[in-house]
Symmetry: C2
Subunit: 322 residues, 2 copies
């Protein structure tokens, strides 16, 4: 039996469901989790949606964002727990113990590194987003996807595909997005809410980072440094430093991009790569980790030493991947 | 009879076809024009593709980019001319006289301001891109869309929708994009070729522009100034100054974004707006023009005077649109 049929069957009989997002939640796990919550409530069930780290400011427009709890209410018991994008049960953070206590655990995930821990697992690494999986699941619950569910699901697809720019964008996910638009989701309003309501300080930091671009290895490596002075003069906080390494990677010829951000206890290094270069190999040399395309590390050393270690690791990785 | 049927009928009997793009051609008119050329040649016809201003560097990956002529070979005669995205025949620039001399003129356009001048006109303002129209036309010629045609058509859709970010992105165009991917076009490779092969100088100019952001009218207006000194220190040329006003418009609360670029003979002003504010109203006050979302002007005045005129016009426009 298709596991999604079995999952729908289990969810139809659940009256008290816990939906658990992973720590540092993104648009996909929150959007898909909240859409599933709306669908189960439409059937009359009671649902708690939990995310240890709450909801990031750019995602508070999701329907139900204000109901997300950071811990399970004490004494609450559930007959079913659904984890969203948790490769291990521990990825649910503060919610993991409540998940583990539940008699029926359902995992919905599309990450490569999923390790089986649930009673029923919808693991689809070909899916661009769990939003794509949940968009297929909801109608199997006998519930029609309405506008609020469609907005939540499409937000997940938009954020996990980088608005359809990443290599995970398939014909299938484009068609699911088209269907969700016809259910009432307005794509450009989602794009705006997520990406086009930036604080001016974030753009000022980006500006300072871009004026300081350095190129190495014949232009294959680009890097920049963000000092506390840059943050202060831009009026920015560290959380606003995002997407800069990905911007450096758009330079012609660049295969590896690094952003060094000097924080009090350590240097935070963001690494992006392409064309067969592995960002995670460079991150591992610095004690960090991640994926081939995107990785990072926290290095408790002085800035100059960190830059020099990272550039040496970058050179080794480029030598390997030629 | 559906005009697209009539157009297919006319093109099936054409043996010498001229395909004319508009001046300052973009990815949509070049992509759609070159895809149609490939389809007509598959039928055995001979085709010339013309673009007065050639092919921009970021679009030379299109199949057939190297065959685009900037003027019609002298003495060449055609039985059919197809204009792509030309609201008037004059928009074909240096190719307009050859178009006007042709006994059968076909216009394919999706812009709001099309004025009828052709014998057969496929005018579809609901289409996100003419690539969407031509993707529907080619099978009517009895030709299957192959990989090269699909890449060219999808490039048009990608560039005219801002990679599916703009409000013109419909469920229909997402489904056409999915179909073109199944014909062999690789979406993320197109995105990379168009947007992710930037010269480092372009990012350095963006950086300088962003560090100099100024806000006015309680944060509803953002602007920045690009001086010759900024270009020189970045090693950039004016053509690399692109997309900066659109980036300023992503600031929370900003409804009108302006970039002033000091050039030898005039100040080049790029204007972007949202939330009911009209960029073209501000441009018109400066002697320029455009659309509500995106407009521009060339102002032959000193920089300080131009900024002050523009900010006054911005204030008037904000007052109107409250």
């Amino acid at each position: 039996m298709d596991v999604r049929v079995a999952i729908a069957q289990a969810l139809k009989t659940s009256t008290r469901t816990l939906i658990a997002c992973h720590t540092s939640p993104d648009g996909d796990c929150l959007g898909a989790g909240l859409a599933l919550a709306l669908a189960l409530e439409r059937r009359g069930g009671s649902v708690v949606v939990g995310s240890q780290d709450g909801v990031p400011p750019a995602l508070t427009f999701l329907t139900g964002a204000n109901r997300v709890v950071t811990a399970v209410p004490s004494g609450a018991l559930f007959d079913t727990a659904v984890t969203i994008e948790c490769g291990t049960v521990e990825r649910a953070g503060a919610l993991a113990p409540a998940v583990a206590l539940t008699p029926m655990i359902i995992a919905i995930d599309h990450h490569e590194d999923h390790r089986s821990y649930a009673h029923l697992t919808d693991w689809d690494p070909a899916a661009a987003a769990v939003g794509e999986q949940v968009a297929d699941l909801i109608p199997r619950l006998g519930v029609a996807i309405d506008r609020a569910m469609a907005v939540n699901l499409l937000t997940g697809i938009v954020t996990d595909t980088g608005v359809f720019r990443f290599a995970n964008t398939t014909p299938s996910v484009l068609r699911v997005a088209a269907d969700l638009m016809e259910r009432g989701a307005v794509l450009h309003e989602i794009v705006r809410a997520v990406y086009e309501e930036q604080p001016p300080s974030a753009l000022r930091v980006l500006g300072a980072a871009l004026t300081g671009i350095e190129l190495r290895e014949g232009g294959a490596v680009a890097f920049t440094v963000i000092t506390p002075a840059i943050l202060q003069s831009a009026g920015a906080v560290p959380e606003e430093v995002q997407g800069i390494a990905a911007t450096l990677r758009t330079i012609r010829g660049v295969r590896l991009a690094l952003v060094f951000e000097q924080r009090p206890a350590a240097v935070h290094v963001s690494i992006r790569a392409r064309d067969g270069v592995r960002a995670n190999a460079v991150a591992q040399a610095l004690g960090g980790g991640g994926h081939p395309g995107a990785a990072g590390a926290e290095v408790p050393r002085p800035l100059a030493e960190t830059v020099s270690l990272a550039l040496a690791a970058a050179r080794r990785e480029l030598g390997r991947s030629v």
